[in-house]
Structure formats: structure tokens, C-alpha cells
């Protein structure tokens, strides 16, 4: 349990639906679900989820806070938007899934091992560092996500492609040491910090 999480639990007590409505992106749509199950049936990755969106919505209403926020289900969403297109109640399901994932991450209780979450974290760190994504370091960080041995293994598998990209000028080896970021990196960092603070204040997180 992180401090942020404890604070939110204290604030909303047992009303998880209210918590979701206040803190999760598009969370105020959750109550409008009519449990038809079209989202669950439309999801191309349905089998890979523990809980379909339909179930997630029902769990939120049933107050299953812990189960929902620590679940890896919403992290499995690939943003194909099939559910949004088909939902007869026009719920922005994809957005809610990402909102829930982000909220769980923010509270520090998100599913630890989920690869989507880890990639997202690596990407965020990479892109915010200089204000622009560095494809080379991003790939390398991704390869070595699970340690040196597996990193070297993946690296060797990708050698052919890497050389090919090098030949055709699609890969700049210099980016390893010198990546051209945006002009005002400091300003960006200040901006992000401020936004984080504002969000924390608005949602009542103990930051």
C-alpha cells in the first residue's frame, strides 16, 4: 500500500464507483453500462483478459477496488476501439480502460509484471528525458528489460535487422551517445512537474 493509495481509500471509504467517477479518465461513464456484454464479445484479445470490460464495470459497481486496480486486464487493451464502436450505450470503453490503468499506476498498486505497463514506463521515461523519443535507447532498454542475459539474446536475434537498418540509414548509431532533444528540456520538465502537482491536488493525492 502506497501513501497515495491509503489516502484515497480513506477519502472514498467503500464507494469505489464514486472514486472511479472522480479520478479515472471518463470514469463517470461506468455507471451507464447496461451489462449487455457486447464489449466482451467484441474484444479481439478477449481470451487474454482475466476480466472483460463488462466485468470490470460490474466489479467497480460491486466495490471490488483491490481486484480491479491490481488486475492486469485493462493493461491488455490494444486500443483497437472495437468496443467503443459497438457499445450500444456509447461508453468510451477504451479510454476508461487506459484511465483505470493509469489510475492504478498513479496509486502505485498497478500490476507489477505486466509487460504493457513496463513498456509504457520505459517509453514515458525515454520521451520525457529530452522531449523526443530516442528509438535506439528505447529499443535497447526494452531488450534489457528482463536482465543482461535475455537482453543479449534478443540483441543477437535482432542483429540482422539492425545491420540492415544501419545500411539504409534508418538507424543512427550516434544516438547512443548524443541524442538531439528539444530546445527547452528544462522547461518541459518543469511543466510536467507542475501538471503532476496540479493533478495530485485536484484528486487529493498525498504527493
Amino acid at each position: 500500500m502506497t501513501a497515495t493509495n491509503t489516502a484515497v481509500v480513506a477519502k472514498y471509504q467503500n464507494n469505489f464507483l464514486q472514486e472511479v467517477e472522480a479520478n479515472v479518465e471518463e470514469g463517470d461513464w461506468v455507471k451507464m453500462c447496461m451489462q449487455c456484454g457486447v464489449c466482451a464479445g467484441s474484444c479481439p484479445l478477449g481470451d487474454a483478459w482475466d476480466h472483460s470490460p463488462q466485468e470490470i464495470f460490474m466489479m467497480i459497481r460491486a466495490g471490488k477496488r483491490e481486484e480491479v486496480l491490481t488486475s492486469d486486464s485493462m493493461w491488455m487493451c490494444t486500443s483497437c476501439y472495437n468496443c467503443i464502436v459497438r457499445c450500444p450505450r456509447e461508453l468510451p470503453i477504451t479510454h476508461i480502460m487506459h484511465g483505470l490503468a493509469n489510475y492504478a499506476h498513479r496509486l502505485g498498486i498497478a500490476h507489477k509484471k505486466n509487460p504493457t505497463r513496463r513498456f509504457a514506463k520505459i517509453f514515458w521515461d525515454n520521451v520525457t528525458k529530452n522531449g523526443r523519443a530516442n528509438e535506439l535507447t528505447l529499443s535497447i532498454r526494452l531488450y534489457f528489460m528482463d536482465g543482461i542475459v535475455s537482453g543479449i539474446k534478443i540483441g543477437l536475434q535482432m542483429v540482422g535487422m539492425g545491420l540492415g537498418m544501419l545500411k539504409t540509414g534508418r538507424l543512427d548509431p550516434m544516438a547512443l551517445v548524443m541524442h538531439k532533444g528539444i530546445k527547452d528540456t528544462k522547461g518541459l520538465h518543469a511543466m510536467l512537474k507542475k501538471a503532476y502537482e496540479i493533478e495530485g491536488k485536484r484528486k487529493g493525492y498525498a504527493s
Binding site: 464507483l17 455507471k31 447496461m34 466485468e55 460490474m58 459497481r61 460491486a62 471490488k64
Partner: protein, 739 residues
């Protein structure tokens, strides 16, 4: 009009008839075999000149019987509708040239078919009489409405505003019925988001202000007798006085009683005051009048309310309701809003298995979700009400787990039970002359078939849901509202309007001596030869509309104004004494005999089709219209209803050499489509016994087939005919041909 019968036959050459058929030869047949005094061919019979030709013959030549050999009797009915003469139609277009191939090989058989239809048309018309209207008609146009709830008041207002007098009878001391007990109603107008005032008091005021409506409170109907246009009704007040009133039609809006929740002890009802049914909650809400509702047991604050849907409904348990009452989901949504509107912090949960929000309920449902009402899908197995409030055992069907919920108040959504009086199929009926008032009966009819309307299922009155709502099996009496099927207030008001129009229609038809739906406007009526009657009672029992009573001497008494002219009595009569002026044992029997029967070795079988004029015959016509071909050995005769088919027609047909007989009627059973409700069912039963007769004749039972045919079975009808033709080929020719 001349007393003597003078038949004239007119053969049309239009629509390709002239090209495909040798009309001169047909004319000869009409003259020789059809005994027509006048035979004319016309190149375009339904045009002004053709119609004028016929009218001129009627006016100046003394023609009394007209046979029009042209298109189906269902086409050009206005052009060929002549007053004061009997008219028959030989169907040469849909029945012959459109259903047969247009080539040289087929020409001979097509011509034979047309010749037979000419013989049949002439034979039919010569046994018809021009119908004159029912002489025993009444002309009372006042309309009785039984029941003063939303349905009854709407019907009364609609009837009065159309310009007819109304007598409104209500058993309670005030108008309003169940709706008067509600705090608010579910919305009936845009944006369908908030509960609205019921509008009952405004409606009562409107009824009281309407000069055409007279209201009789604290009153019941203790006797109903008569027929459309001439009903006589005893209205008995609680004080003991009885008035006899005369009315022309009756609208029964006797409504519903809420299901007795005491039968639901496993849901905790009756164990403590915190478990109520929907009507109980309405009472609490009316008392609170917009303020927060207090806990009934101790007056404490209500923090959590749980609504249990389908309580004792959609259930297979004994003593519970098997059906959905249609309004309860919307009602629970409305009641959850009572709490949310007073205090949004109150937790309201609706436990449902299938949420059904008919009409514009979907908007109302959404509005409740916006207000924060929680909906959970699953089944409640038990409610523990041992202390104040309750614990609800609930199986969540989405999350697939058992849950226990605490609640301060539980509302059970119980269903509607129809107030339809006594079940005449269950209760023994009084013998003629010994009739008694029943306190359980709504209408106390003195009809031979019973005191109340027949039920269909679950105690609701028989009234066809889709094809003919409000129509009942008692002519001139129309039912509407929750006595017909479970419904909400919006539907009940619509129902009331429909029944009001039906009642007005029937008094207008009755005063002209004409039939009501579905043979609306038919002037013929049943007659019977008393000296031939054996008093077997079959007609009184089988009449689907309870039109026939028994007189003191036990002869059938036809109340012609109650008759729908289906002819089921005619088909039932074993001694064939019942007939209509233009439809009788002879008008069909002679058609069957008129067909020219080829000899056995001609290899030309004959198949008789007796088709219901409401569905099967139109399907045959449409098959022709779509140029779907069928066997040229068929001779089709429309009948008013399969119930009017006399078994004598079948035995006669078999004796005279027909090789097969097909009967086509409507679907029967609980989801019947028969326009006369029981006609096709009775026919089916009668035909199930025809096998014995065939056996006595040493004929195969497969030669007679009965089929249920819908009006949409356009593709299927030719298939049925061709299947019979194949069957006949397999069985060989009827050996009776040469006798």
C-alpha cells in the same frame, strides 16, 4: 325484383383471359350446364362499360343471380358488388391462367380448369340468395364501460368525445383504480427522465365534467344479456338497488389486482415491515410526499434500498406467475428515483435477471443510471428478515459469485393478476332457466357458454395480441387494459382508445344489421330449419363467440347480432339444417358436384382444395400473382373459415370421384391465427375423424390432408398442392369415379 331465378354469366376477356382461354366455349358451358339465361363475353368486364352491361341486365332483364367469371373474388370487389342480387365469382385469372404455364401443351388442361370454374360459379350462384340484413337488430348506441381506472376512464372519455353516450360502472367508491394509489407515474412524454404526476385527479375531473358520461360508483354488473345494439345490463349498487340499463356495446376494463406478496415468504414478505411490495412503497412515498422515506419498522433513516425484480414472476414455482408483467422494471426505476431525488446519498440497488423497459423506458433507465441507481444482474434466492432491515442472498450472474447484501428496505416487484372474473372452462355453467348471479363474475352474462369472457392463458382474456387486439370472443364486448395482458399505464391508455373505436364500430354495424369484424359489413346471417334439428347442442357448444343460446324447448336460439358469420355452426351441424343466405351446405356442395369428373383411365385426377378465405385463399391468389405454377387438376373453393367445412362435403367429394382433398386453414392452438379463434381448431378435430369414414369407403386416409397455412405461405401453397398431386399419382385413381 322478379321472384323467378334468372342466372346471368359474364366472362371477361381482359388481363390475358381472352388470349389464353377459348371464352366462346366457356360461354357455351355456362349456357348449357350452368343453366344461365344470359351469357355475355366482355373484353374488359371491370371497366365502366362492362359493369354497366351487368347492371342493365339486372335492371331491365330481371337477372337475379350473377356469376362473374374473371378475377379472384378478392379483386374488384367494388366494381362487381351489385345490390339486391346474388353474385358469385369464377376465378379464371389468379386461379387458372396465372397459375398454369402459357404453352400449347398446357392449353387443354388450362381450358378444362376454366370450364370447371365456370360450372362451379354457376352452381354456387344458383343456390345463393341475395342477403338481406339481420331483421333482429338493435340500434342502441350507448356504450357501457366496466371499470373506472385509467383504462376505463380513457375509454369513456374517448367514446364521449366521439359523440356517444357512456355509462361508466366502478365497483369502488371512487374512480382512479390502481393508478390512484401511485405517488407518481413513469414518464409518458419527452424527455422520459423524471417521474411525473399521475394525472388521475385531472382525469377524474374530466370524466365528471363530461355531460355524455354518467358514472355509477359502488356498483357491479349483476346480469348482462342481449347482443350488440341491444344489450340489457343490470347494474347493482352496494346499497342493494338494481337498475336495468340498455346499451349497445360493452368495454371491459376491469384491470388487475397486484399479486399477493404473502405467497413470497422466502423473500421475507410479511416477516417485518421493512419488506414491502411496489404498491406498499407507493403508499410510503405518498405519505412522505417528496421528503425522505423513513424506515417503516422504526422510523429510522434509510441508507440502502434494494429492489428485487421478478418477485414471484417469470417463475415455474406453483402459485407464482409464469409471465412478465411488463411494467415492474420501469416501476422500480421510478421508485429508486423517489429515493435518489430526495437524497442522492441513498444507495439504491436494483437486482434483476433481465431488465425490460418497454416503450420509452430505455431513456428512463439511462436517467436512473445517471442519478446513480445501481443495477446488478443476478438472482435473489432468499431474504433474511429476522431483524430490522434485511439480508439478501444474491447470486451475481456477471461476476458469478454469491453475495450477501444488507438493506434498510427491500422492495419486491410483484406482478399483475388479471381481474377477468370466472374461468368458464373450469366453472360449471348454470342450466338454461336456472341462471344465478355470481359474485366472482365481472359481467354475469346469461350466455349459454358462461358468465365471463373465455381466457387464453394465465387468466388473461382471450384477445388476439397482434392481429385483432380488443376483439374478444363475445361480439360487442371489448376488453382492454391489464385484463387483456399485463401492461403499464401508457399501454393501457392506448388499449382503451382502440377498444373505444371497436365499440363504436360495432354499434354502428349492429344498427344496420351487419356483422362485426372480421366479416365487417356482411349482411347475411344464420338461419336454421327447426323441424330438422335434433337438439344435439353442437352448435351452441362450438360457436366460438357464444352467440347461440338455447330456448325453453332446447332449440338453438341464434342471437344474430352476436354472430360473426364464420359458419362454424354450419360445419358442426350433423343434420345440416344451418345455413346462410349466400353460404350454405349447398353453395359449396353443388360446386363440388358441378366439376366434370373424367373417367378413371383418362389419367386426369381431381384434387379439391377447401381454403380459408382469410389466409389460405389469399395465399393461393398471391401464388398466382407471382406466377407460381401448381397442378392443373386442382379445383379450389374458398370457405369462410375451416370451421364451416361440413364433413359431408368431404365424403361427397370422395364418393363422386375426387382423388384427393386438401383443407387449408389458419394456425390453431394458443398462438392461433384463426380469425374466428376456434374455427380451424374444431375443423382439425373433425377432420381427424374423417379417416374412419374413408376406411369404410375402402379409401386411403392420405387422400385427405389438413394444413395450417398463413397468408405469407405463398411459396408453400403450390408445394402442398403438388405434394398431394404426387401422392395421388402414387396411390392411383379413386375407384369411385365410374359409379
Amino acid at each position: 325484383m322478379a321472384d323467378e331465378k334468372k342466372i346471368a354469366t359474364y366472362i371477361c376477356q381482359g388481363c390475358g383471359l381472352g388470349d389464353r382461354l377459348d371464352t366462346a366455349e366457356l360461354a357455351k358451358i355456362a349456357e348449357k350446364e350452368g343453366k344461365a339465361a344470359i351469357v355475355r363475353e366482355h373484353e374488359f368486364l371491370c371497366n365502366a362499360d362492362g359493369v354497366a352491361t351487368i347492371q342493365k341486365d339486372i335492371d331491365s332483364e330481371g337477372v337475379t343471380h350473377v356469376c362473374v367469371a374473371a378475377c379472384s373474388r378478392r379483386a374488384k370487389t367494388e366494381a362487381f358488388g351489385f345490390d339486391n342480387v346474388a353474385v358469385s365469382r369464377a376465378n379464371l385469372r389468379e386461379g387458372v391462367i396465372w397459375s398454369q404455364p402459357d404453352n400449347d401443351e398446357a392449353k387443354e388442361l388450362t381450358q378444362e380448369m376454366a370450364a370447371d370454374y365456370i360450372r362451379m360459379g354457376c352452381a354456387e350462384v344458383s343456390f345463393m340468395k341475395a342477403p338481406i340484413s339481420n331483421p333482429n337488430h338493435g340500434s342502441n348506441k350507448r356504450i357501457l364501460v366496466v371499470g373506472g381506472g385509467i383504462t376505463g376512464m380513457t375509454a369513456a372519455l374517448e367514446v364521449a368525445q366521439t359523440g356517444y353516450d357512456v355509462l361508466l360502472v366502478e365497483k369502488e367508491s371512487q374512480l382512479g383504480g390502481q393508478a390512484a394509489r401511485l405517488y407518481k407515474r413513469q414518464p409518458n412524454r419527452e424527455p422520459y427522465a423524471e417521474p411525473l404526476d399521475t394525472g388521475v385527479s385531472e382525469m377524474i375531473a374530466a370524466v365528471e365534467a363530461e355531460s355524455r358520461i354518467s358514472v355509477s360508483l359502488n356498483s357491479r354488473i349483476t346480469r348482462t344479456s342481449g347482443a350488440p345494439g341491444q344489450f340489457s345490463v343490470d347494474v347493482s349498487a352496494e346499497s342493494g338497488s338494481t337498475n336495468t340499463e340498455n346499451v349497445g356495446a360493452i368495454i371491459q376494463a376491469s384491470g388487475f389486482t397486484p399479486f399477493d406478496a404473502n405467497k413470497l415468504d422466502y423473500l421475507g414478505y410479511g416477516k417485518n415491515a421493512d419488506i414491502v411490495d411496489q404498491m406498499g412503497l407507493e403508499e410510503l412515498a405518498s405519505k412522505a410526499n417528496g421528503n425522505g422515506i423513513a424506515r417503516p419498522s422504526d422510523g429510522g433513516e434509510i441508507k440502502k434500498v434494494v429492489f428485487v425484480q421478478c418477485a414471484g414472476q417469470r417463475s415455474d414455482k406453483d402459485g407464482e406467475l409464469a409471465y412478465c408483467s411488463g411494467h415492474c422494471c420501469n416501476t422500480s426505476i421510478k421508485q429508486a428515483m423517489y429515493f435518489k431525488d430526495a437524497n442522492p446519498e441513498v444507495d439504491t440497488t436494483i437486482l434483476y435477471t433481465d431488465l425490460r423497459t418497454p416503450g420509452n423506458g430505455e431513456d428512463f433507465y439511462r436517467s436512473a443510471q445517471r442519478k446513480g441507481v445501481i443495477f446488478a444482474k443476478g438472482q435473489v434466492s432468499a431474504v433474511d428478515a429476522s431483524s430490522n432491515g434485511a439480508k439478501i442472498k444474491f447470486k451475481d450472474l456477471i461476476l458469478d459469485e454469491d453475495v450477501e447484501l444488507d438493506a434498510d428496505l427491500v422492495v419486491l416487484a410483484t406482478g399483475q393478476v388479471a381481474n377477468s372474473g370466472v374461468d368458464i372452462d373450469e366453472v360449471a355453467q348454470n342450466e338454461p332457466g336456472q341462471w344465478e348471479v355470481s359474485v366472482d363474475s365481472i359481467l354475469n352474462m346469461d350466455y349459454r357458454q358462461g358468465k365471463d369472457m373465455p381466457h387464453l392463458r394465465h387468466g388473461f382474456q382471450d384477445s388476439h395480441f397482434i392481429c385483432f387486439p380488443y376483439e374478444t370472443r363475445r361480439t360487442g364486448i371489448y376488453s382492454c387494459g391489464p385484463v387483456r395482458r399485463p401492461m403499464d399505464m401508457v399501454q393501457a391508455s392506448e388499449d382503451a382508445t382502440g377498444a373505444a373505436l371497436k365499440a363504436i364500430q360495432t354499434v354502428e354495424n349492429a344498427q344496420l344489421g351487419r356483422a362485426a369484424h372480421p366479416r365487417s359489413g356482411d349482411l347475411s346471417y344464420p338461419e336454421f330449419r327447426k323441424e330438422g334439428c335434433t337438439q344435439c347442442k353442437r352448435c351452441t357448444v362450438e360457436c366460438p363467440f357464444g352467440a347461440i343460446d338455447e330456448d325453453e324447448k332446447r332449440y338453438p336460439q341464434f342471437n344474430e347480432s352476436r354472430c360473426r358469420r364464420c359458419g362454424t355452426c354450419m360445419g358442426a351441424c350433423p343434420v345440416r339444417v344451418i345455413s346462410f343466405e349466400n353460404y350454405s351446405i349447398d353453395t359449396v356442395g353443388q360446386q363440388i358436384k358441378a366439376v366434370d369428373m373424367p373417367e378413371e383411365f383418362d389419367e386426369k385426377p381431381r384434387i379439391l382444395v377447401l381454403a380459408c378465405e382469410n389466409d389460405a385463399y389469399p395465399a393461393l391468389d398471391m401464388a398466382g400473382l407471382n406466377r407460381l405454377q401448381y397442378s392443373a387438376f386442382v379445383r379450389a373453393i374458398p370457405v369462410r373459415c375451416l370451421g364451416s367445412v361440413s364433413t359431408s362435403w368431404i365424403t361427397d367429394a370422395m364418393n363422386s370421384g375426387y382423388d384427393g382433398v386438401i383443407l387449408m386453414g389458419c394456425k390453431h392452438g394458443d398462438d392461433y391465427q384463426c380469425h374466428f379463434v376456434k374455427g380451424s381448431e374444431l375443423a382439425n378435430e373433425r377432420m381427424s375423424k374423417i379417416g374412419d369414414t374413408l376406411e369404410q369407403l375402402d379409401l386411403e386416409g392420405e387422400r385427405v390432408a389438413t394444413h395450417e397455412v398463413a397468408i405469407t405461405d405463398i411459396q408453400r401453397v403450390p408445394e402442398l398442392i403438388n405434394a398431394m398431386a404426387a401422392k395421388v399419382e402414387e396411390l392411383g385413381m379413386n375407384p369411385f369415379k365410374d359409379f
